[in-house]
């Protein structure tokens, strides 16, 4: 990984994270350094431990955490997991366009810049489709 690269950690309710990642891989092929975590059955502390373990294994890289629902248990655990980490950020409201942009464009710009781009991409992809 180069210095601009970022790892991705998708944290969601149910199997959404796993399936988002599976779907991304059916579109672009195998994706490295992107991880899926489900909140199913896990206490907050257990979830935080799993998240931190991944971040700590890639300490040299920036970490972008994606969660499905702002204010849900995944976003709460992620917020607490990255507290004190300078090179980690949490984005809520994950959708497929955000993830596809993440895996195809990371490494081409600075992490802070890609975060701004991902949020814009996600917001722009929610729209009424003209007939």
């Amino acid at each position: 990984m180069n210095e601009n690269d970022a790892i991705g950690i998708i944290v969601t309710h149910g199997d959404l994270a796993r399936e988002l990642l599976n779907t991304v891989e059916t579109i672009v092929g195998k994706v490295d350094f992107c991880y899926a975590i489900s909140n199913a059955d896990l206490s907050d502390d257990a979830m935080i431990a799993r998240i931190r373990k991944i971040i700590d294994e890639h300490r040299e890289s920036y970490a972008i955490l994606f969660v499905d629902y702002f204010g849900g248990s995944c976003s709460m655990s992620c917020s607490r997991a990255v507290k004190g980490y300078e090179k980690a950020v949490v984005i809520s409201g994950i959708n497929l366009p955000i993830l596809l942009d993440f895996v195809t464009k990371r490494g081409t710009m600075k992490p802070e810049e890609i975060v701004r781009n991902l949020i814009r991409r996600g917001q722009e992809s929610v729209r009424v489709i003209d007939p």
């Binding site: 896990l42 702002f70 204010g71």
Partner: protein
Amino acid sequence: MIILTRIDDRLVHAQVVVGWGRELRPGRIVVADDRVASSEWERDLYASAAPPEIRVSILSVSEACERISAGEFDGERTILLVRGPAEILRLLDMGLEIGEVNVGGMHFSDGKVKVLDNVYLDEEDRKALGELARRGITLEARALPRQEKVILNPMVS
């Protein structure tokens, strides 16, 4: 008035604000938790988790007991949230009247054994829930309002 007293180690999260919120239409959630109440950062985090139509009060267990007992939330449909059975015991010891407790989420961590999909217990949890059962509290376990209630009392007594 307290319309639901719930044990949930996730405290304010989607099941509570969306799942129970749409059924009970609460105006307020009171979180009675010493750990969260003692940190401004944690208070802000949990307060931000609720939608704008639900106000959130994050209080220590003793302060929650005092303010509920004083009738401060009588005019609002209020959900009382605690992290575990120990907090309910403390509220009872301080004189709060509680008849039924929803055991909504006691999730897995090391050393806990699955009892129901949403309930994992270790020995300490069992003891605390057993004590609540002995004091006549009905422990109804379910994550969401439209699920069937499972009465935990015989499983922890």
